[in-house]
């Protein structure tokens, strides 16, 4: 036989009465599953864990008294039922509570996400079990705002979906509301009207109306004690009616019997005319049954209730507050007292939270710093951390050794190559060939204007001296690599990548080709111009080469495995000769 306790808030004392009766007279009923919702789940767990009922009564009454203490009752900010409940349960339950409850205790809860009913039966630890019970007792805006979580899922009071879980046909239902339950108070009114709220059938009677208002607002401990007594009486009535009261000896025999015959017996006596007791002959049983009629709630529970009512009734303050005018006064003073109370509560809560808050703050601070760091890094990456410029310059100046300048009518050409599409930086190749004194200029540059300007100047300085300079070729390029790099993270690698891709780029090659072409074209012109006439000049060249240090020298091997040497001399500053460059090929 299974038991099921309805959720009922502070009317839970009724369950205490029922539980004490069962423990006293029908412990054989308690070996099976026990289910419950809300306060019913607490009662169920207490029964399973064999918690002394006096203790649990004291706890419930303590909460009730505290809920009544303030002017706003349970809604007063100083009343934190969750904490009280949690602490009470931790103290009350034995360490192995979860092991005892596993599979036997059924806690009815409502899943917050979809409002479906869930029966929790597996608990990993004592704390886990308590969490499940707290879930089942969570009434939004009454016990708190955020629903507690069990195994990561948010649940609330089982009373919202199934207030009286029925496990199977042989479930004894216990409800403190008069209605259609196995154990429930019989009201003196005899209402034909009934409603069914979350599986709990409740008759519409004045008493039930009163009980309803007392679910969340506990009545005076004396009334609670009467409810407890009523629970005991109703349970006793049920046990008497179903002949479940036996003496200890018979119980032992019966328990060994029922294991074997459980299935057959339960089905047969579903229609029963006040079932016959299996051990009617036993005098002890009859005696016990008779004695039960005059019995009442056990001593420990009574004592707990007495203590609670003493707490409320005795003392000058309590005496004062029992009078109506004082009650009225306390209500009237509410607007002045309440803000102070709220402030105190907030401070208390903060004080309690201090250690955890500190940790939390620290954690958060480091977190904030980390994110800040990250953000700054991000920003920095957008700025140029360094400028990667790759520049190369080659200046070639060409002389006309014949005075006769008319023979050399070089076409003026200018080539510029723009590689905006390739690099986001501007990559300009300029090839300038002078008019009379041909200037050849090729450049690749990131920011063309200042550099160009500079270069122009340098060219200008070069230009005023020579008369026989045919052309000045200044080859140079600058590659600004940064803009391609800015988006990437690993800069070093990217610089390398860009450099590598440099050669591969065919238009880039074009630029070099063009320069080469220009050079070779120049060279051929030059050779064509000097070869016939300039025999005497050779001496001069020889002289300069032997006298001066070469400004620049190329040694290279061509296709025919001949080493070629090209030397460039600067002779303008030492001698007045206008020769600037000498190029020779050694075979």
């Amino acid at each position: 036989m299974n038991l099921s306790f309805a959720g009922c808030g502070f009317l839970g004392l009724y369950h205490v009465g029922v539980a004490s009766c069962f423990r006293e007279y029908a412990p054989q009923v308690l070996v099976d599953k026990i289910a419950g919702a809300s306060a019913g789940s607490l009662a169920a767990c207490c029964l399973i864990c064999n918690v002394p009922l006096g203790e649990s009564t004291t706890d419930i009454l303590k909460i009730a008294v505290r809920a009544r203490a303030r002017a706003l009752g349970p809604f007063h900010p100083g009343f934190d039922i969750n904490t009280i409940l949690h602490d009470g349960l931790v103290n009350m339950f034995p360490e192995d509570a979860h092991l005892r409850s596993n599979g036997r205790l059924h806690v009815s809860v409502t899943r917050v996400s979809d409002g479906e009913n869930v029966l929790l039966t597996q608990f990993d630890s004592k704390e886990d079990l308590i969490q499940a019970l707290l879930c089942s007792c969570f009434i939004p805006f009454y016990t708190g705002i955020l629903p507690p979580k069990f195994h990561g899922v948010a649940y609330m009071d089982g009373g919202f979906s199934d207030n009286l879980p029925i496990l199977d046909e042989n479930t004894i239902t216990v409800s403190p509301f008069s209605g259609e339950s196995d154990i429930c108070p019989q009201d003196s009114s005899f209402s034909i009207m009934q409603i069914s709220l979350a599986n709990t059938k409740i008759a519409i009677t004045p008493s039930n109306l009163y009980r309803f208002t007392r679910i969340l607002f506990p009545p005076h401990p004396e009334i609670l004690s009467k409810m407890c007594q009523q629970g005991f009486d109703d349970a006793l009535k049920f046990l008497q009616r179903h002949n479940l009261i036996s003496c200890m000896r018979c119980l032992e025999v019966q328990s060994s019997f029922t294991v074997a015959e459980a299935d057959s017996s339960t089905e047969n006596d579903s229609i029963e005319n006040e079932p016959e007791h299996a051990y009617d002959g036993c005098i002890d049983c009859r005696y016990r049954k008779q004695m039960a009629l005059v019995d009442s709630v056990p001593e420990s529970v009574v004592k707990a209730i007495e203590n609670a009512s003493d707490q409320v009734n005795k003392g000058v303050i309590n005496w004062l507050f029992r009078h109506r005018p004082v009650k009225l006064l306390s209500l009237l003073s509410l607007p002045y007292v309440l803000p102070v109370d709220i402030v105190i509560v907030i401070f208390c809560k903060l004080w309690q939270l201090m250690p955890t808050l500190q940790k939390e703050l620290q954690k958060n601070l480091t977190k904030v710093l980390n994110t800040l760091n990250l953000v700054i890094n991000r920003l920095n990456s957008k700025r140029h951390m360094y400028s990667a410029k790759f520049s190369c310059q080659l200046a070639v100046t060409e002389y006309d050794y014949n005075r006769d300048e008319d023979t050399l009518a070089y076409p003026t050409c200018q080539r510029s190559l723009k590689y905006d599409e390739i690099f986001s930086s501007k990559l300009v190749s300029d090839l300038e060939l002078g008019r009379v004194k041909r200037k050849s200029y090729a450049g690749l540059q990131g920011d063309p204007s200042p550099i160009k300007h500079q270069r122009r100047r340098s060219i200008e300085t070069d230009m005023y001296i020579p008369e026989r300079v045919i052309s000045t070729m200044n080859l140079g390029f600058t590659v600004n690599l940064e803009s391609t790099i800015e988006t990437s993270k690993n800069k070093q690698q990217d610089v390398m990548d860009v450099l590598k891709s440099f050669g591969r780029d065919h238009s880039e090659l074009n630029a070099i080709d063009i320069t080469n072409k220009a050079l070779s074209w120049d060279l051929s012109k030059y050779q064509g111009s000097i070869d016939p006439q300039n025999a005497d000049n050779f001496e001069c060249i020889l002289e300069t080469t032997s006298k001066h240090e070469a400004l620049m020298a190329f040694y290279y091997m061509d296709e025919k495995m001949q080493v070629k040497v090209t030397e460039i001399f600067n002779i303008c500053d030492s001698t007045d000769k206008p020769v600037n460059e000498y190029d020779s090929v050694w075979k």
Binding site: F190, S196, P206
Partner: protein, 420 residues
């Protein structure tokens, strides 16, 4: 002081006269309104009604419910005449297995408060496999006509009994097993007292109105003032007034507050809307049955004249079987008390485990088996008594037969085939 009273005395006739005026004018207005109301065409009623209900909707919802009965079910209106009013009234009746003449006693089912024949859905099938089954809507409930009942409890009882007696006459039943649930149980008992010859066996399923209201309240605690106040204020209202006040939200109210009723029928009724809408339409119409019930009650559901104090008036040869649900709020002690009151007659009390007030729907198999057993017993007793009568006194038998035949002729003469 004296002066003042004198003045008051002087004024009284005048104020009474004005009061009389007001009352008569109000009455006139109401009358005119009622007459106008009658001229409102049917199609317009749909526009101005507050409760979304009508006779047709009740009919269709009942059809839907009854469609889940596998056996052929014959429904008809039985005209029960004018009774205590000025108009003809008719009672909606369904019969099963009533065509062939069997020697078995028919079972007549009397529904409870606020329901109708549709709620016997889980029982009529199995009950009708052996014997004829009749079920009807009581006057003032469900599809039967809704005359205004008296406000005097005994008179209300008499009116109900009279209507049932006429109905029995018209349908042509001689003796029957009468099964009443809740309020039906109370009425059935009342009927059995008035017409014990017609009852072969009285089955009372969770009957209402048996226990007496305890004089000394066995209350563990005194109710506070405001609760009493609220209770007193609610007392004059009909029990299901909220359903009609809610108007368009009424059907939802049934769904919300009586999901258990619908759950009971779930295994058979696939359409989840069927039962709630049937219950709603049964109760959303003119609540004369409820008014009659209110007349019978005092103090939230207690009978003004509880049956337990009158059960000795029932003739000793009428056997009674009480069937209680173990979880029901109905106090089954009165069943056992009846046993002691009627020591010389057959009284049996059965408790169906796990069932609530609606025993017949909570555990239909058990309930049907029980009723079947009781009916079989009634059959046997009936046959035995017939044989006894045959063997003992021939003369008496002859006279009784004559009486019977005259009765049956009477039925035929009253019987109007057009109405059936």
């Amino acid at each position: 002081m004296g002066n003042r009273s004198k003045q008051a005395d002087n004024f009284r006739p005048a104020s009474e006269a004005t009061e009389g005026w007001v009352v008569s004018i109000a009455g006139l207005v109401v009358n005119v309104f009622m007459i106008l109301w009658k001229f409102v065409p049917d199609w317009m009623m749909g526009w101005i009604r507050w409760c979304p209900t009508s006779v047709e909707e009740l009919e269709t919802s009942e059809m839907k419910v009854l469609s889940f009965i596998s056996r052929k079910c014959h429904g008809q209106f039985v005209n029960v005449g004018k009774l205590w009013t000025l108009e003809d009234h008719r009672m909606w009746t369904i019969k099963l297995n009533a065509d062939q003449r069997s020697d078995r006693l028919p079972v007549v089912l009397l529904h409870g408060f606020g329901s109708g024949v549709g709620l016997w859905l889980l029982n009529i099938d199995s009950l009708s496999s052996f014997r004829p089954v009749y079920a009807f809507d009581m006057l003032g409930f469900a599809r039967s006509s809704r005359p205004t009942f008296s406000t005097e409890p005994f008179e209300v009882e008499r009116q109900f009994v009279e209507s049932i007696e006429v109905w029995r006459n018209r349908v042509g039943l001689n003796r029957m097993v009468l099964l009443g649930h809740s309020l039906g149980g109370y009425i059935a008992t009342s009927y059995a007292m008035a017409h014990p010859d017609r009852i072969a066996h009285l089955i009372l399923a969770d009957p209402w109105g048996f226990p007496e209201r305890p004089i000394t309240t066995s209350h563990h605690y005194e109710l506070p003032m405001w609760v009493k106040l609220v209770a007193t204020m609610l007392r004059p209202f009909n029990p299901l007034a909220a359903l009609r006040v809610a108007g368009p939200w009424g059907p939802q109210l049934v769904d919300k507050f009586r999901p258990d009723l619908c759950q009971k029928f779930n295994p058979v009724v696939q359409d989840k809307e069927a039962i709630p809408s049937y219950i709603y339409h049964c109760n959303a119409q003119k609540p004369t049955g409820e008014e009659a019930f209110m007349a019978l009650t005092a103090h939230f559901g207690w009978a003004k004249h509880p049956m337990i104090s009158r059960i000795h008036q029932l003739r000793e040869d009428v056997p009674i079987t009480f069937i209680y649900g173990s979880r029901s709020w109905v106090d089954r002690q009165t069943g056992f008390q009846t046993k002691f009151v009627r020591l010389n007659s057959y009284v049996d009390v059965q408790v169906v485990q796990g069932a609530g007030h609606h025993v017949y729907a909570d555990r239909p198999e058990l309930f049907n088996a029980l009723v079947q057993k009781v009916c079989e017993r009634a059959d046997i007793v009936e046959n035995r008594s017939k044989q006894e009568i045959e063997t003992t006194s021939v003369q008496k038998q002859e006279t009784s037969v004559e009486k019977d035949s005259s009765d049956s002729i009477d039925i035929d003469s009253h019987f109007d085939p057009q109405l059936l």
